[in-house]
């Protein structure tokens, strides 16, 4: 006998069929069950000590019932048939529309669509090896410079099995593995304290550490903090900004990614509504959202509605070609889903979300982009961001940045936010490099839910962005 644990559905198909039928018992036109079983391990090191290793188990089902424009949703951690039927009943009552009726649901074989290959599943790796990584990170960061006074490092992995079935006959499963390492460093000098941060995360197993040097990660974070000790206040006002490859994907995530989500567009809460086929960005820009991008943080075999992930071109040569779609929004428009229906856990309703969002390569040599910039700011690492999709105004932080003077990168700058307006900034991209790279793993928050996402871009220049510093 071979071990079939990972192939067995989390709940038997005949039970799923009865639960889905129950969901439609109050006259709803759609019912769906999402089942999740997630095991996770995390470990934290701070102040030179491994403070705590944590093991977690999250398991449950979310049942969604749709009747016209109304969605009913209930979730439960009880995966017995009785527990699932009770949740289905609650969801069905929530979406009740007049008379019931008997609906039969039949499921075929489970669809499995994988985009990631896990060589070394984290749950077979000894915890001591995971803790060891943290100690290496701590030692490497502290060795960089005597000004390093504090190091905090975190390791996390998770293995999540999901199963989705709905009354339209969708029946899909996926196993999603994630491995993450992050490090924060504090350096101190005459002018006070400064911080550095870096992280590494992929949708693969522990083999991630064969392919990546954790010491290098620690050294990068430490150097970032040390460099900033001599930083001068960031300037204020609008000026050209060059963003290093792989560090500025969050710009597109905020400047247009969220605004291209069909749920926001559908409520006219996006500045990109009604712009299909129009030039919304510099012709240099081709923007893609791609859930199939192997091993990247936002890569998924299927989305959380059971739809296989896919590669979607959203902006082609500056022209808006598509929005991102989930089941409900696609159904309303009578079009196909795009594999962007995602949720944080079985306790959440799915909605339109990004996966890996990035800008394709241009033609410029990245060094030429800097040389071509007389006066401006060079951003080597961006922080998080935030957008108001309706006005298009967005901010993002610069965690590591330098002045550009006469075509050369010169002095480091203290942290600040940058602010811009999405449509204006997209049109203001005037130079695009040929050195594409993906960036750090991210968590995208929307309507109270966080999901893992990736982003990326080549080195590029925005003709004018407002730097939120204190220097005149």
């Amino acid at each position: 006998m071979t071990k079939t644990q990972t192939v067995e559905p989390l709940v038997a198909p005949d039970v799923l069929e009865r639960v889905l039928a129950k969901g439609r018992s109050t006259g709803a036109d759609f019912s769906e069950i999402y089942i999740e079983d997630k095991r996770s391990t995390s470990a934290g090191l701070d102040d030179g000590k491994v403070e705590q290793v944590t093991s977690g188990r999250d398991r449950g089902a979310g049942i969604r019932v749709v009747s016209g424009e109304t969605t009913g949703f209930a979730h439960t951690s009880d995966l017995s048939e009785r527990g699932l039927l009770a949740a289905a009943q609650a969801a069905a009552l929530a979406a009740k529309q007049g008379d019931g009726g008997v609906h039969k649901v039949q499921l075929g074989d489970v669809l499995r669509h994988s985009v990631n290959t896990v060589k070394l599943s984290p749950d077979v790796v000894e915890k001591s090896r995971k803790v060891e990584l943290l100690k290496r990170v701590d030692a490497a960061a502290r060795a960089v410079n005597a000004s390093i006074v504090q190091v905090s490092a975190g390791y996390g992995d998770s293995r999540k099995r999901i199963l989705i079935a709905n009354s339209n006959g969708v029946f899909s499963a996926d196993e999603q593995v994630r491995t993450l390492l992050r490090v924060s460093v504090v350096a101190t000098g005459d002018g006070g304290m400064q911080t550095g941060y870096d992280s590494l995360g992929h949708t693969i197993g522990f083999e991630m550490f064969d392919e990546n040097d954790v010491e290098e990660l620690a050294i990068r974070a430490a150097k970032q903090a040390v460099t900033k000790l001599s930083a001068r206040p960031a300037p204020s006002g609008a000026m050209p900004v060059v963003i290093k490859r792989g560090s500025g994907g969050v710009l597109f995530h905020e400047a247009c990614g969220h605004g291209l989500e069909a749920d926001l567009v559908g409520k006219s809460a996006s500045v990109y509504r009604g712009k299909m086929g129009e030039l919304v960005a510099s012709p240099l820009v081709t923007l893609v959202d791609d859930g199939t991008m192997t091993a990247e943080w936002g890569a998924i075999g299927i989305d959380d509605e059971g739809h296989p992930s896919q590669r979607n071109t959203l902006i082609k040569d500056g022209v808006l070609t598509d929005y991102m779609w989930d089941y409900l929004r696609a159904r309303k428009e009578g079009r196909a889903q795009s594999g962007n229906g995602r949720r944080q856990s079985y306790q959440h309703l799915p909605m339109v979300r990004m996966t890996n969002t990035f800008v394709l390569n241009g033609k410029e040599d990245p060094d030429d982009i800097v040389r071509d910039t007389k006066q401006g700011v060079y951003i080597a690492k961006l922080g998080g961001g935030q957008v108001d999709t309706a006005s298009g105004d967005f901010v993002f932080g610069m965690a590591e940045a330098y002045l550009i003077e006469n075509g050369e990168i010169t002095e480091p700058l203290r942290e600040s936010n940058l602010i811009g307006n999405g449509p204006e900034v997209l049109k203001d991209i005037d130079l695009l490099g040929n050195d594409f790279a993906m960036g750090n793993p991210g968590t995208c928050g929307k309507d109270g839910q966080g999901v893992p996402v990736g982003d990326g871009q080549p080195t590029l220049r925005v003709r004018s962005l407002t730097i939120g510093g204190t220097a005149a």
């Binding site: 398991r59 915890k127 809460a269």
Partner: protein, 450 residues
């Protein structure tokens, strides 16, 4: 806590009773439920009804800590969690200060956390209220659209037991409504929001929520980008609440112990203008985050942190207190069963001034009323003190409100902003956040625009 939950308490006790010689165990169990209603264009968009439960177990042995959790209270799962937590001990580093809280004799101050009327509130009425809020919002201003109108409520029961003699359990429920608005402005739209909180839905002020949501969106119509310059800003109460909240990290005793507080070595020194007094008081029932116990089960208490601008105290959990050779201030925080306790302020309150917002504005020659900020998480560093956020607001000229402005940033450092506090309003607003809101005037902030 005001109402015990014997069933959960005995579940927590049963875990703790399994401690082996030399082990210290803390069991935290909770269960709860929520209802979420969303209305759009007069129709019910979604109705969520959900229940969840879970257990987190922390074990300390010989100075090493292990932790595990599961999102279920099934007996077999609890046994597995206990075994996992035990297994995790071996990987921790020996920490001489590791330990659980011990009862310290400080009495809890009783408060009301459970509302029977909310617990029995009919579902149909929740939907009705949500529809009514949308209707009122649309009626408040013809230029406004509603993106979503929401009703949310939740209840929770928790219990914590430890081998050191802590045994606490209780339950609470709460509810609020909120509405998000849009006002079209050419190709773009300006956004607003309004909300109302109450012990039960009958305390909601739907009209006020609708009015504020409409005003927030329309106030910014036609807003332009300002030129860069140094200005005096007055933070709207909602923004002040966010500003004050971020100070929690710098006043955190664990951050102090680990060299991550910008207030290190500043105790009893002037860190803010003498007009500024900051208290953490979760025993004040008016505070949205009021509580009677902290995340470790110790009584919550009133702590004066900054008095007349002088730094008086850092907040501590039992762990940070042991490290700093002091006593817990009852400031352990806990995000639920999936993690151990941390440290933080629980309900921050700034002592109000004696002027209305209008009077404060009248005293400003050249400034900006900051209505909203963005990017607090990306542009504010509580270790270095660098402060930079996106903002929108209204220009103040010679004491009068003028044109709306947006797409600019405000920047300074936290250290400097505290010292540059010019005045405080008397317009206390008990917002559903960790810190109270009031109008706050700060001078010499760099506004960056075109």
């Amino acid at each position: 806590m005001s109402v015990g939950v014997p069933e959960l308490q005995s579940l927590a006790d049963s875990v703790v009773e399994q401690a082996k010689p030399g082990e210290h165990i803390e069991a935290y169990v909770s269960r709860g439920g929520e209802t979420s209603v969303r209305v759009y264009e007069g129709e019910l968009e979604h109705f969520v009804s959900a229940q969840s439960e879970g257990v987190g177990i922390r074990i300390i042995k010989d100075g090493r800590t292990g932790f595990a959790y599961a999102g279920t209270l099934e007996p077999s799962a609890i046994a597995e969690v206990l075994a996992e937590a035990r297994d995790n001990i071996q990987f921790g580093t020996v920490d001489q200060w590791a330990g659980l809280a011990e009862p310290d004799g400080v009495a809890q101050i009783p408060q009301k956390f459970w509302d029977e009327e909310l617990a029995n509130y009919p579902t149909d009425k929740k939907i009705e209220i949500t529809k009514e809020l949308e209707k009122l919002t649309l009626a408040a201003d013809s230029r406004v659209r509603a993106e979503q109108s929401n009703y949310e409520d939740g209840w929770a029961e928790t219990a914590v037991s430890t081998t050191t003699g802590i045994r606490e359990s209780g339950r609470g429920n709460s509810c609020y409504v909120s509405v998000a608005t849009l006002a079209d402005d050419g190709d773009e739209a300006q956004t607003g929001f309004g909300f109302s909180v109450g012990d039960s839905p009958k305390e909601f002020d739907l009209k006020k929520a609708a009015r504020e949501a409409a005003d927030r969106a329309t106030r910014l119509l036609g807003a332009t980008k300002p030129a860069s310059k140094s200005v005096t800003i007055i933070l709207d109460p909602y923004v002040t609440s966010q500003f004050v909240s971020i100070l929690s990290s710098a006043l955190n005793g664990e951050n102090l112990a680990k060299g991550r507080s910008l207030f290190a070595d500043r105790l009893n020194e002037q860190v803010a203008d003498p007009r500024f007094t900051l208290v953490d008081d979760p025993t004040n029932e008016l505070a949205y985050t009021a509580t009677d116990i902290d995340g470790e089960g110790l009584a919550a208490r009133r702590n004066i942190l900054i008095e007349n601008g002088v730094l008086k105290k850092f907040v501590h959990s039992s762990y940070s207190a042991r490290r700093m050779n002091t006593k817990s201030t009852g400031n352990a925080t806990r995000g639920g069963f999936s993690g151990g306790p941390g440290v933080g302020c629980l309900a921050m309150q700034v002592q109000p001034g004696n002027k209305t917002q209008a009077e404060l504005i009248a005293a400003i020659d050249d400034g900006v009323l900051i209505q909203d900020v963005s990017g607090m998480h990306s542009g504010v560093n509580t270790i270095s003190g660098d402060f930079s956020t996106g903002a929108s607001g209204i220009v103040i000229k010679n004491g009068t409100l003028g044109a709306p402005i947006r797409e600019f940033t405000i920047a300074s450092t936290l250290q400097k902003m505290l010292l540059n506090i010019l005045d405080l309003g008397n317009d206390i607003d008990w917002l559903p956040m960790r810190a109270v809101g009031l109008s706050l005037v700060i001078s010499d902030v760099m506004m960056s625009g075109s």
